[in-house]
């Protein structure tokens, strides 16, 4: 199908975007980043914004830079640019690995990291990565800017902490150069399609002992979730095979993913178990290689 009519603007500053959102609040306005989720929804007429505000000319949102301890990704930075960035490869290799699973290159040439986070699909890779990396989301709205930790940003399927009239302007990821090992693994029936389950893992080690673990899952709840039980089970151990099994079982016990036509609750939990084990093992081996 084709989208129903809407009004359109392509402003050049964040202030103008916020003004347009406020002035057209009655028209159910939406902001357009890469459009790789929103435009299909509009083609299906599942989303029918009356006013579309295109962010492509807002120069301030195109920044990709490293500050002292933080990697800063502007809301309009395309996924393919993040994937190719040597800065990101050093500061957040987990993000680069996960991007390889996000649809296909032509989608990533248009799609943005910020757009994927603001879209908040519970099956998507990047929200789970943002949670695992303790990213912060910088937003701008009528009452100024605020910083929202990823742990508080995702509220439900396609639902975030963004208020009406507020937009995501930057993703801020703590740099992890030379710290520990990372892994992103997922299971999808078809390469490039949405995965049934994904796991993001970051594991830090000192002298063969796990000093910190950050492990998250996508596809098993209405938001990305932290595998807190696995993190606790690994901390302070040498993470041998028996400990990994305990950690995986503990995390899986806390899950109760909804079943759907793609996979039942039991199947999805089983796949989560397998992805957790693979993710933890890969992150551990990379952490060990680093020493």
């Amino acid at each position: 199908m084709k989208p129903p009519p809407f009004r359109y603007a392509a402003p050049t500053s964040v202030e103008e975007v916020l003004d347009l959102l406020a002035a057209n609040a009655d028209a159910e306005p939406r902001v357009l980043a890469g459009g790789q989720s929103l435009v299909p929804l509009m083609n299906f007429r599942l989303a029918q914004p009356g006013f579309l505000i295109d962010l492509r000319l807002v120069e301030a949102l195109t920044t990709l830079r490293t500050e002292r301890d933080v990697l800063v990704i502007g809301a309009m930075v395309r996924q393919s640019a993040v994937e190719r960035s040597s800065e990101v490869a050093l500061a957040a290799p987990l993000l680069v690995e996960a991007l390889g699973y996000v649809a296909h290159p032509p989608i990533r040439n248009s799609g943005t990291v910020g757009g994927s986070l603001a879209h908040a699909d519970p099956s998507a890779e990047l929200p789970a990565v943002a949670l695992a990396l303790d990213a912060e989301l910088l937003t701008a709205g009528p009452s100024g800017t605020r910083t929202i930790p990823a742990a508080e940003f995702f509220r439900g399927p396609f639902t975030t902490a963004l208020e009406p009239g507020e937009i995501l302007i930057e993703v801020r990821i703590p740099r992890r150069e030379g710290v520990g090992g990372y892994a992103f693994v997922e299971f999808a029936r078809t390469h490039g399609n949405f995965a049934l389950v994904g796991v993001a893992a970051v594991i830090e080690m000192e002298k063969d002992i796990v000093t910190g673990a950050s492990i998250t899952l996508s596809g098993v709840a209405s938001t990305p979730v932290r595998a807190a039980a696995a993190e606790r089970a690994l901390a302070g151990t040498s993470a041998d095979a028996a400990t990994i099994k305990v950690a995986v079982d503990a995390a899986a016990d806390e899950l109760s993913p909804a079943g759907d036509l793609h996979a039942s609750t039991a199947t999805r939990t089983d796949i989560a178990r397998s992805c957790l084990r693979r993710g933890i093992q890969l992150a551990l081996s990379r952490a060990q290689d680093r020493r």
Binding site: K2, Y8, G35, Q36, V39, N43, A103, H104, P106, S110
Partner: protein, 173 residues
């Protein structure tokens, strides 16, 4: 509904069109510019037959509004051949039977352009991975992969034109 003037360069030629913001890039290319080489398949970004190059990068023109391409440089399948001379990719698709019904072909060709531009010497495995973004229901992909590898070789200047090597020339007349 208000129309919006956009100016972009399509296959080297500057065009200005007045379009509704809701009009998809693929529809503007086909209907407003008459470039029917770019096909519409699924209309939600899954099949890849609408793939065109925007500023050199492959994108889905069915999930891109034409207004988003304002100021951009677009290349479509019509921009590949030089007059009657087929682009090496087109020539190899023909010779190696990289198409049957032809529906996916424009998207496959444009995606292959980007693959070769980013890696002039792709392995069959890299091409297989690269074209995973585009669906073909006829060929089983194998002949497409062979065609892309052969075209990449010719574009590197390493291999002969197929009609000068193994294929009889009358097959093309």
């Amino acid at each position: 509904m208000d129309k919006y003037d956009i100016t972009f360069i399509v296959n080297g030629r500057s065009s200005t069109v007045s379009v509704e913001p809701r009009k998809l890039l693929v529809d503007v290319l086909r209907e407003d510019l008459g470039l029917k080489g770019t096909h519409i398949g699924c209309e939600h970004g899954v099949c890849g037959t609408c793939t065109v190059l925007l500023n050199g990068r492959s994108i889905r023109s069915c999930i891109t509004f034409a207004v988003q391409a304002d100021g951009a440089e677009i290349r479509t399948v019509e921009g590949l051949a030089n007059g009657a001379d087929l682009h090496p990719l087109q020539d190899e698709f023909w010779t190696k039977q990289g198409l049957q019904c032809g529906y996916c072909t424009p998207g496959m060709l444009m995606r292959a352009c980007e693959i070769i531009e980013q890696n002039p010497d792709p392995s069959p495995e890299q091409v297989r991975e690269g074209i995973a973004s585009n669906l073909c229901r006829c060929t089983g992909y194998q002949f497409i992969i062979e065609a892309v590898c052969a075209a990449a070789g010719r574009m590197r200047g390493e291999e002969q034109r197929p009609d000068q090597a193994t294929m009889p020339t009358e097959a093309k007349s």
